[in-house]
Amino acid sequence: MNIAMTSEGNVAVFALSGQLDAVTAPELEARLGTWLRNPGPGLVLDLEALEYISSAGLRVLLMTAKKMKAANGRFCLARLGIRVKDAYLISGFDHIIKAFDTMEEALAASR
């Protein structure tokens, strides 16, 4: 998995690519953990290039969502591919983390 971090105004964007699974989830948890120590107001995960996610990856997203909520921040996902969207819907994560089809919508919701 690759993680690239950029900023759009005061919204942080982490773009993930490859596979977010039991092997790679700890790396994302560490990177987000560093950012969450001093979080900005908004965080978007751009999943356009993410090919796959398992429960280990979703666990990191859930913990991130809980921490952003506790920090009064906004957190959402953008551009889920077919396999990632499948896992997102089966797990019921659509009830807890917002997802948008475009980066424009995701950024607008995070400001």
Partner: protein
Amino acid sequence: MEGLHELLEFVDAGARASGFSEQARGRIRLASEEALVNVILHAYHGAEGPVEVGWEMTGEPALEIVIRDQGADFDPLKAEKPDTKAGLEERKVGGLGIFFIREVTNRIHYRRESRENVLTLVFFP
């Protein structure tokens, strides 16, 4: 978790050879990963141990994946189901792996065979 990707590539090769769609292959990989991670975490409690993975396309036709380990007695089918309707604050972390296996697999079978856990996952094309 070392070796997990290699095992998953092996399973995916089976799914590809059996003609499953892109989305179905994602689900087969998902169930297989969750089952293997459970073996590592629950049967071996995070320690090293042998895991055997095999697949075959049966005459049904169906892709049958068999996972064997020699760890502690662990029946994933007895696990509690997570509340997938819960909101962010109520939603508990964990329990999702076994839920995924149940949701995406057409048929699951667990048995304890002498000193092995044997989990069979069946997918219809």
